[in-house]
Symmetry: C2
Subunit: 224 residues, 2 copies
DNA sequence: CCTTGTCAAGAGCACTGCTCTCTTTTGTGC
DNA sequence: GCACAAAAGAGAGCAGTGCTCTTGACAAGG
């Protein structure tokens, strides 16, 4: 029973994966805007309506690709991390670099997750966890290190949010440090987005040096 | 001669504006993805092909809206600036706040300019100047003030880019300060994008306090 | 064997951007 | 005042889209 059922399900899972792979391929060519279900089906030797056996809508396909992309960039960040053997600052810089490298290698997938939310607003529920992987990798960098905590006035609302985060992450850091981590996280993806979306064209066009410099300054900024 | 000609041209300019206005209205409803030339024409009591007398393509219409949006957010930043009478730090904070307020009031227009570049890549040439208005407002904040210059190692490529910028802007600031200004600029729009695009959902959901705090910390960061 | 559920195919609907051709309007020089 | 030319709108049509519905083939389970 389970054998036959898994036979069917295996075929189903396989084709589902093939559809996603082909969609990802087309994404790299024409971007999310130009992704066409009919073209995907055509390439796979299927008729367009067959796709709907596997994905209820184009937006749902895109949402699945979004989750995959979050996991891919998260894994890239984790892979770039040299691990606990290296100095925290080196780990931090490596993660920044690795994250950017993935984004530059997969610009359309990056735009899918960090660009404008094109579809009928992808369910945040499914994306929250994979979306935090890069941030988590950065945070892990400074959990087991002598982190010089930073003092500073933090308004009460932000202080409360920061304390909720420290509890959830199990990290030993004051509200000011947590705020700075959030700013660094914002800086990382802000810089990648500005670079990929062409905002640096008039100022720091090959943005490599600027990005590396930002990584260092933000490391200092959070106390590394 | 010029009178009659300008009569035609006035009518033409008027209808061109009406098309853009209606398009902007629909943009607020359905976003850039859902903007339809036929729907715009329908709403204006025109037939779809008539639009093409005014805009050669949908992408060209979007490009025009992009330029308008850059100017609108730039003007919002300039309006928020209390001017040379106020303290530089106050001006800085006001500009941050004003920029964010505009973005929150016009999320789809913001996404059009700072989200993923959806169309056939809008000509950067037309957008570079209006795109720099917010950054310019921020820079103006600290031109005529005793700006304590910040020292710091800056890699040669970045140093060269920074020096080109100082010359172009006519600003008295060392490469490290210019780099930090670029980071602050990135932080401003990175934070707005993260807020609008839902990346702060799991962490600092009403992001007001965090944003205001970031504005202060980045003011210090650039030497204000 | 025969029922039952799964899947792909194909036609079709309503919509899109865009391109033609045709007709109407509008301003101008004679 | 009138013929002429330029400009602008109307309408049909093309190729493409997402999506729905019905129909026919196939394989698994009783």
């Amino acid at each position: 029973m389970t054998a036959t059922r898994s036979a069917r399900e295996r075929a189903r899972a396989e084709l589902t994966q093939e559809i996603k792979d082909e969609a990802r391929r087309q994404l790299a060519d024409v971007g999310a805007h130009g992704l066409s279900l009919r073209a995907v089906a055509r390439e796979l030797g299927l008729v367009s309506s067959a796709i709907y056996r596997y994905f209820p809508s184009r937006d749902r396909l895109l949402t699945d690709l979004i989750v995959d992309a979050y996991n891919a960039i998260g894994e890239a960040a984790e892979q770039a991390d040299p691990g606990t053997g290296a100095a925290p600052r080196e780990r931090w810089l490596a993660i920044w670099q690795g994250t950017r490298d993935w984004a530059r290698a997969h610009p359309h997938e990056y735009a899918l997750i960090y660009g404008s939310p094109i579809p009928g607003y992808a369910a945040p529920q499914d994306t929250v966890v994979p979306a935090s992987r890069v941030a988590l990798a950065l945070v892990k960098t400074l959990t087991h290190t002598e982190l010089r905590n930073i003092d500073g006035e933090v308004p009460p609302e932000l202080r409360a949010q920061a304390e909720t985060l420290t509890k959830a992450l199990g990290i030993l850091a004051g509200p000011e440090t947590v705020s700075r981590l959030l700013m660094a996280w914002t800086q990382l993806f802000g810089a990648i987005s500005f670079d990929l979306f062409g905002q640096y064209v008039g100022s720091v066009d090959p943005a490599d040096a600027f990005f590396a410099h930002s990584a260092k300054r933000m490391a200092e900024f959070v106390g590394l």
